[in-house]
Subunit: 258 residues, 2 copies
Amino acid sequence: MELFYAHKIADGRAFLDSEESAHLVKVLRHKAGDSISVIDGSGALMSCVLEEVSPREAVARIDSVSEGWGAHPYHLQMAVCPTKNIDRYEWFVEKAVELGVDEIVPVVCDHSERRVVRTDRLGRIAISAAKQSLKAAVPVIPDVVPLKDFLASCTCGLRLIAYCAEDVKERVSIAEVLHRASASGLNPARISILIGPEGDFSPEEVRAALDAGFMPVHLGPSRLRTETAALTAVEAVYLSRACGGPAYDSSNLQHLNH
Amino acid sequence: MELFYAHKIADGRAFLDSEESAHLVKVLRHKAGDSISVIDGSGALMSCVLEEVSPREAVARIDSVSEGWGAHPYHLQMAVCPTKNIDRYEWFVEKAVELGVDEIVPVVCDHSERRVVRTDRLGRIAISAAKQSLKAAVPVIPDVVPLKDFLASCTCGLRLIAYCAEDVKERVSIAEVLHRASASGLNPARISILIGPEGDFSPEEVRAALDAGFMPVHLGPSRLRTETAALTAVEAVYLSRACGGPAYDSSNLQHLNH
């Protein structure tokens, strides 16, 4: 199954940009009247019929819409400091989308070695990964934000932070936090996880995050790079919340090997 | 903390190759008499004192040895078909080492698009990741092996396979398999997980693996690339077996942010 990304929806029609259109027309040789599957990043899968097949802008009529297609059963915001080597951050974006993430916020911290990120490029990587992994929702990737502003704006019900500095705070695993949340009946729908830069958060930043209601978690005994720590957090939520127990319905299995 | 990799141990001394020696001498400006920490990939951390500091071959006297340094509490063999784009496989090697893996076997399958892998290069990536993540053991990465030969040679007590094809086999998550193994008291020390190529295993290969005692597992509802599927399997073992419950001892926390 191949998905196309529409940059605009209007008048019951999906409009593909020049890159998508060129791929559709020149590589896949689609013609007017062909059926295609389109996403616009909002979470809906649109079954369409091609009307215009210009390689600059293809237009398809929307025949039916499936909401929540390829969705995961939680809302996950990852607030992750950009890595010095941007390839590592881009890799994180791709993998997080494959597994399931709703928002990726590049947060700038005291020890950040990178303070500028081309979020348009990250957005394109996210669209590509969503198409690849058959997800109709593309995560939101806002512009870089200072940690202070992020802490003030975060409204997720469950807020977690992973940091290196040893302190007296009890730390539990993300799986344990999610388990306790379920067991207590207080199970916030929206989860935010904050991951610091290569040089860790400063003590003041950790204090500010804890004051803002972020709960310290651990990611196990391994010493992980920033992007590996971030992905491990995404995996912990995915494996706890989407990967379920033995009664898993294998008819939903789309995973693996593309 | 900085680790150096010794390519040879003899007469109570660690010998560094030209690349490690040049870094030690020219970049870090170490001198004879300096204390350094050395690994040779076998799992031991060696506290050494530099005797010779030639940029072509530095030699250090081993003063003490800590076995099992940075080790994880399981033995994990990942048998993963090489990806068409080798960058993706190299990325998997780096991330798997950060989390904890003991052997990475490049397996060639019916649908493999890549049948040749420079395992010397993968080995260097594994050494670099082990130094970075402060692990004294570097995983073994043998030469490419046909699936049939791999199946005949695998001796791990717990053998798992993830594949796409839908069949009637019940599939459970890796976490559930590990949980059942613990609960039953039959808890094999050595785990092997088999991950197929971009085009999945052929039906004959799946049958052969099941006949060889591999148990089908699922990796959740997301459609994952080969390298993401492989890493998700490593994460599932790591999060289940090393990331423990709430009583986790935070004094062991080395994770995150380097």
